[in-house]
Subunit: 461 residues, 4 copies
């Protein structure tokens, strides 16, 4: 997911302290006298605070949410354990939850992704954070446990990214788990685990899948990829787009974003598709729909966006012309059969970070980016605005689950209600100085809608 990426890059700015002692072995205390946290170095709090403040400037939706909802403290009484990447952007989310009335304990969903200074700033501000960059496997589970295992404090909400925290509570603290009011999960993997639990009849708590909300999907796929395809290609290869022939495999949202950007900058784009409805859209948008083999000898760039496996195979790679760039913008690293390139007759040459030249015996070079992993996560950054969409969606899902009247949600996995999805969008409109029109009573009646939405049926994409 995109959070991983942001933290990864952000983390790289973090100084890696020389202090080799494990945080678990240190006794630290914040300025208010609390020691209920475990971070690398509480003294880095000031620097972390500044990072959080900068992030706040691009996460105005959460700031607005604090203001709008503050009077009513919609999360008063909520005890949230969270397990996410710990970055400046997450910190803005956590402090928003606190401002709305919640108590929070937090840990990291990835052993490398914690921004130590941010963890310190949160701990200094009173949030119990257990996380540092470079945890061991054992540290990882120890931190999760420290979040949950308290004598006089029992969580009633879970915010998870990947499902590890959920799993831990489900397995180790069954009684706690049963009393949870709701789980909010943001990753594809975590959502998958929830659906399996549900299918097995073991999910005794309502859960919300925020990964598939309309607004989040549009930003993660269409809008984000429209920019990151250009950014990722430029940073890795300095390629000039004008006049380049590009084949894009897959014309879903990701493919549409990539095509629009490249076409706009003067590339000639071909599409491959398996779905005739998407193929017909590609035609009407001005792209030739071809089979990969028809154009593989002539193209300068090959981009996969299918979610499928082995879309680009050795046979295609053998036929590419010298200098052809190959990369993946799809949902996994299976789209390009990179394994097929690990054969003796081919030479691999790492020419830059994330850029390999694979060299054929005749000297032909194919330029492989990020070894076939996701280009936009490996070679470009994710704008804070996109992260703001995700964080706001998470916050609203927590509010919804926590405040929902008995019976609205059963022991199942839900999508974010349309109305909340629309609310996420509306909180981001001020960034664009966009002014929404309100329905008159007469118009709302004519359309059979509530004036405050939802404005579209649930199946609307």
């Amino acid at each position: 997911d995109l959070f991983s990426k942001s933290l990864f890059l952000a983390a790289s700015y973090t100084d890696s302290s020389d202090d080799e002692a494990s945080p678990r072995d240190k006794t630290q205390i914040n300025s208010k006298g609390s020691s209920d946290f475990c971070v690398k170095n509480i003294k880095q709090a000031e620097f972390g605070r500044r990072e959080i403040e900068i992030a706040e400037q691009d996460m105005l939706a959460l700031i607005a949410l604090r203001k709008r909802a503050q009077g009513e403290k919609p999360l008063a009484g909520a005890k949230i354990v969270g397990c996410t990447h710990i970055t400046a952007q997450t910190a803005v989310l956590i402090e928003t939850l606190v401002a709305l009335g919640a108590q929070c304990r937090w840990t990291a969903c990835n052993i490398y992704s914690t921004q130590n200074e941010v963890a310190s700033a949160l701990s200094e501000a009173g949030v119990a954070v257990f996380a540092w960059k470079g945890e061991s496997e054992d540290d990882f589970w120890w931190c999760i446990d420290r979040c949950v295992n308290m004598e006089d404090w029992q969580p009633n909400m879970i915010l998870d990214d990947g499902g590890d925290l959920t799993h831990w509570v489900y397995k180790k603290y069954t009684n706690v788990f049963k009393k949870i009011r709701g789980i909010v999960e943001e990753s594809v993997t975590g959502v998958h685990r929830l659906y399996q639990l549900s299918k097995a009849g073991k999910l005794c708590v309502p859960a919300m899948n925020v990964n598939d909300s309309v607004t989040k999907q549009k930003f993660d796929n269409l809008y984000c990829c429209r920019e990151s395809i250009l950014d990722g290609l430029k940073r890795t290869t300095d390629v000039m787009f004008g006049g380049k022939q590009v084949v894009i495999c897959g014309y879903g949202e990701v493919g549409k974003g990539c095509c629009a950007a490249l076409k706009a900058l003067g590339a000639i784009v071909y599409i491959t598709e398996i779905d005739p409805i998407c193929a017909l859209q590609a035609c009407m948008d001005g792209f030739r729909v071809v089979k990969l083999n028809e154009v593989i000898r002539q193209v300068d760039v090959v981009i996969t966006c299918t979610g499928n496996k082995n879309v680009v195979i050795r046979e295609h790679l053998d036929r590419m012309k010298n200098g052809c760039i190959v990369c993946n913008m799809g949902h996994s690293n299976t789209e390009i059969d990179v394994t097929s390139l690990r054969t003796p007759e081919l030479t691999w040459e790492r020419v830059r970070s994330q850029v390999d030249h694979v060299i054929w015996p005749d000297g032909k070079r194919v330029v492989l980016l990020a070894e076939g992993r996701l280009l936009n996560l490996s070679c470009s950054t994710v704008p804070t605005f996109v992260l703001s969409i995700t964080a706001t969606t998470q916050a609203l899902a927590l509010i919804e689950l926590y405040n929902a009247p008995e019976g609205r949600y059963k022991q199942d996995v839900y999508l974010l209600p349309k109305k909340m999805d629309e609310y996420v969008a509306s909180l981001h409109l001020p960034s664009f100085d966009a002014h929404l029109t309100e329905l008159s009573d007469e118009q709302a009646k004519y359309l059979g809608l509530n004036k405050n939405g939802p404005f579209k049926p649930n199946y609307y994409r």
Copy 2:
């Protein structure tokens, strides 16, 4: 619906015979000796045949369908009564149904829209057609009745456009109605009537709503409007698009089409929206989202695409600048409050067909197109390709309902199955010389899909 328009324009090419006698009073016989039809003048058949042949050249999907399905005659035994506009394009549909094994009897869904020569050509070819241009109300129902009321022939399928035929059979021939295997309805109105019947528990036959199929919707709205907004404005006003300031009310599929076209030709486009998700999309697509009042004084063109009522009201019209063009691309003629302009102090001047200047006392002129009715139906044409999408969808819906195993469809209103929707799309790909990629067995398994589709879930848009 768009069929109306096509017939309307096509009809205008038809010579209006001087022969004033009602077809009902004439005895006509075709070259095969049959008199089971009632049209204006069977002698015009040859001219109508030529029109049909020309239409066939742009309806290759139906021709392909004839070829692909012919061996198996999937409509063998089907006895279809149809009530649609009778145009060259419909004729291609009807003759496709016949080629697939059906027997057809046909009448017109509109008293003005019949192309007499085409009706003659169909009758000459053996289809029992009861329709002519300029029917009276009484003629209209007489024709419908003649289609259904046969001694030794009972229909088992209905293809309707507007619901009049369905209603007639339901009311007058209850026993026939009960034995109908399926109804295919293409209009918004007809679909609405079917849903009401279903809600009332009176629909004893499965019905298919082809109006809302994905492929048809994309073409009727996004793609068709993208072209017809330019065409409609040019034909009526000769306006230069470059540099014009335009406000478009509504950023749904129709609005998106209009915006894309006008922006591409150098107009500066503003959007109004009530739905924050659509508004956010408008922002990301590069449009300022405003309230109508913010820009109404400065814009050169106002276009409504909302499906709402009174979006442009007298207050807005009063504030427009001299020469401002106002038109409607939405779903009904309620969007502009034209009635509010029928006041004594304003002068109306008809400057061209479909173009009125409404003149304020100070001399200001507002240019109102099509009196607020749909611009694309009134002032531009519908490409045959779009009609081909609709006709193919109708044909496949008939095949599906007729061949569905017992129990697949109950006494309800259904959307076209995704797979058939995809098939409609695939039949139109050859027009673009587009080549679809096929899944390998391994890929299909990985994705959990059948190799032949459907490729997307039913809710996919």
Copy 3:
């Protein structure tokens, strides 16, 4: 030229009076008692006045010119004879010249193009107009002569469109010609004749070629064609642009305009070029550069924009696919070898005004538009705004030549000075509510420019 077109269309709205008498045989007198004019029917003046008033609304640059320059009457003493199409737009120009102090006598440059009502309105207002729709060849020269041949009035300026008036004065009234202060010529043909006269050493008067001014060229070619290619194709063929494969021969300004519009609407565009610099631009703009033969079998539309001859020849036409549309947007009717299609084995079928189907023995149809003449002049309209650019350029050229100090212009053909060209542009900015930035003294000095322009060197395009 574009004026021709505007008049042609406008003329079609003109009622063709039943009065068959030649205007030359009638005695007419306007309301001020003058009979120094010859038009179809002076009583139509009121209707013509209304047409002029409507045209004024889109020619704000000329209206602004009247206001800005009026105090000084820069054309006081100017006696202008003009020979142009006589349309509402020309009338706005003529009345602007009068407002600026000039006396005008006017005749038509084309025997069909006069809007009779406008000629009447001008005559009623005191301009001596000699023109009507449907003049004979003899009438044509008689009218020109009546403009020039006055006892007590000698012209000192000529505004010409085609060079006929100039030629007549040069040949018949040599003494008058010698005293002319300046000639302004707007057509390619007329400019060519002037250059030849100059080359032959016989041009004893300064002349200004307004056809090649930068602003006028951009509008006549790039901006106008960007819109008229769509308009022309739609009005004649109702073709859907989305997904169509189009080859455009020539990537000059006209070609660039056509390509941009068609690409924006979803067509796939190929380019042919002879000039590598233009070809390279086409590549960088995202078009494949091909030889015509490479794509002729697959394209749906062929458009010529070269200024060359025999770009599309019979061999190409023979290879086109069924239904291929062929048209010309270039500078003459030589680009498509239409003559080669006049052979016995091909059948021509006129299916609409300006649309012929040429039918091969195997039934293949090629759709030929306007018989290879200019599509935008034959099948679409020219926006008044484009005509305003031309008319303003003409007015400023007259002012410049009339007021230039002795010696600035010699007996040669000149381009409009950059500064006047910029002035034409600046007079049209208010239509777009565009606000120009002014240089500070410091900036002007830094750039070595006068604060009022010219801002670019003369060779700037």
Copy 4:
């Protein structure tokens, strides 16, 4: 110029050897026994050779030139001294000149920009190179002198970038200078110095200004900036383009490139202009033309592309909103008045390389990129393809001057002849697999052109 940039980035990959000894103090000898060169370390030749080989793959025009012209050795007898950045791309140029028959001696035009390994590879291959990264001022002139000052070898051609070499020869070796057959100069500064020399009557040698050739200008400005504005902004700020409000000062070629790219990615773009012709073009291209003050409070990004000074001044900077990004894409670093920001009440914070936050007392931050210097040279790379255009232009200019018949060029500064400009373009078409159409004899005659060009008049842009 763009060469500077490419070398700068490339240089950063170069390992800075620990060897502190000055190359001037070392004795080195290449594998052929020559010591007529002075570089950092001749042993790095192999690594440099690889860099050159990689560059060759993107400079196919020069490789093609080698092949096409090789038979005739058009530079046989040419003795060229060159003073340019010494990079892999320059090496491809130099080795092309050698392949065409020239003898070359080379030095660096910038004390920091030399890629040491490339210099070594050239020296190893027999080109006398005198250059290393990190020269002192004294070293710089010593190197130049070593290129020119030979007993038995006198240069007859100069290729210069900046004019330092030309000046040195002109001043120190007057007799050599007089015998030079031609100078090719590529920088704005160097060209300016040549024009001054010419004006002063002191230029006794023909010189060619390759900076202003049409092809080079289009690539350096329109095409290169269209991509580098996105790249520069992304690499420095990770800003999301969608929905951003951007004001671009200046709508020349650079501005047009920036606008096109940003609009295509969903930004809302405003333009400021001083020239009404450019302003009118901006209108027709769909941009609002405003004064900077009208939008300065609302925009998210300000970009200068004017060539003017003080376009963005303190008053504007004071009014910008928090987080506004300011950068310069124009021709110099004068466009933004950065000096005005060096006042005590403002705090500067360097947040990344090339990115400063300037902080107002109220906490407002303005994000200033590259301290107002050229963004595309400081913060993005220049594609090798653009450098190929420049290098090919230089090579052809040398060939033209060296082979021109006596009298074609006098002691003046010339632009590259149109035909050579077209040849540069044609050599780059194969990169796009673009196929040029050839005129038939009949067509060439009709157009009055030579079949091989030039196809456009000299003033064509």
